[in-house]
C-alpha cells in the first residue's frame, strides 16, 4: 500500500489510506458513488485521499509503507531527499529516555527502603544495589552516546525493553 508523508512543526506525519476505498464493492465506495464520486483507477483513489487528508499547501512525498524506517524511533524521523530518515541525535535522545525509564523501575524497590527507612531492611545493601544500577546504566549511557549508527542504537534500545 502506498502512503504519503509530510512535515508539520518538525514532526513527520504519515497518511495510510483505507483498504476499503480500493474495493469498488465496499460500502464506502458505494456511498461515494452515490455522491457522484467515482474512481477509474487506483491513482484517482490515492489522489482523493491525499488531497482530502493532507492539509492544504503541504508538500508531501509518497512511498510504499514497507519503506518506513524503524518505528521505535518514530519521533526522530525526518524527510530528506524524498525519503524518511532517522536523525541519529534524536534517536539517541529517545534511547536515553528509555534508559532513564527502565533505570527508575530498577531503582524503585531500593528507593523505597532508603526513603521510608523500613525497619528490618538493610539500608546499606539497598544503597549498594543502587550504586550497581547507577554504574550499569552509566555504561549504557556511554554506549548510546558513542553509537555510530541507527542499527547499533536499535540493539541497545531493544535491550532496554526488558
Amino acid at each position: 500500500m502506498k502512503i504519503a508523508a509530510y512535515e508539520e512543526n518538525g514532526v513527520v506525519i504519515t497518511v495510510h489510506p483505507a483498504p476499503a476505498l480500493f474495493d469498488e464493492n465496499s460500502r464506502d465506495r458505494v456511498e461515494l458513488a452515490a455522491m457522484g464520486i467515482i474512481f477509474e483507477n487506483e491513482e484517482e483513489v490515492y489522489n482523493f485521499i491525499f488531497t482530502k487528508d493532507i492539509p492544504g499547501e503541504k508538500l508531501f512525498i509518497t512511498m510504499e509503507d514497507s519503506e518506513l524506517p524503524e518505528p521505535a524511533f518514530r519521533n526522530a524521523w525526518e524527510i530528506n531527499n524524498n525519503l524518511i530518515i532517522i536523525n541519529l541525535d534524536k534517536a539517541k535522545e529517545i534511547t536515553h529516555a528509555k534508559r532513564k525509564e527502565i533505570r527508575a523501575e530498577e531503582f524503585k524497590p531500593h528507593d523505597a527502603i532508603i526513603a521510608l527507612q523500613i525497619p528490618g531492611n538493610d539500608h546499606n545493601a539497598a544503597e549498594a544495589e543502587r550504586v550497581k544500577i547507577r554504574e550499569k546504566y552509566a555504561a549504557i549511557q556511554n554506549d548510546i552516546n558513542s553509537c555510530p549508527d541507527v542499527n547499533s542504537l536499535k540493539l541497545i534500545y531493544d535491550s532496554l525493553r526488558g
Binding site: V11, I13, T14, V15, H16, P17, A18, P19, A20, L21, R27, D28, V30, E31, L32, A34, M35, F48, I49, K52, D53, D65, P71, R74, N75, E101
Partner: protein, 178 residues
Amino acid sequence: MSQGFTSALNLPLPVASGGTGVTTSTGTGSTVLSNSPTLVTPSLGVATGTSFNGLTGAATQADQETATSTTTYVSPGRQQYHPSAAKFWVVYTSTPTLTTSYNVSSISNVGTGLVQVNFTTAFSSANYSIAGLSNTASSNSLVFVQARNTGSCQLQVTLANTGAAQARDVTACGFGDQ
C-alpha cells in the same frame, strides 16, 4: 334449440356483458372482483402502491435522522443515518497499519501512539461520541480523544501507570450526525 343459442354467444363474454373478457388465465381459484382481495402466495412483479401492511415506503435519510417514523421501513442503503448507527469504525495496529474500517479514508500517524482517523464523510458537527479501546491485553494502556473535528479525530494511547505515549493496536467507533 339449445344448440342454436350457444352458437350465438360472443366468447369470451365481455366485461360489459357480465363476463371476464379474458382469453388466458393462470393459477386456480376464484376470479378477483373485490377491492380487498385475499391472495395466497401471489407472485408479483414490480408493484406500486401507497402503503403495504401499514408501511408507506423506504425511510429517507431525513426519516432515519429524525428517527421517529413507525410507518417506513429501513433499507440497507440508509440504515447508517440513524442516530444509533455507528458513523465510523476502525481497527489499526501499533505500526500503525489500517486493518479494516468503515467511513474512514485514511489514518495519519501523527506521533508516538497518536493517530488521526480521517473520515470519508464528515460529521455535521464536532459534537459526536467516540468509543475506543487498546486491544493489547498486556499493555495496561488507555485511549484518549486528543482532538475531535468534523472531518477527523485524534486518538492517543498512553500507559496507565506512567502516562507515557505508546503505540498500540486500537479499535474505535463513533456515533453522531453526519
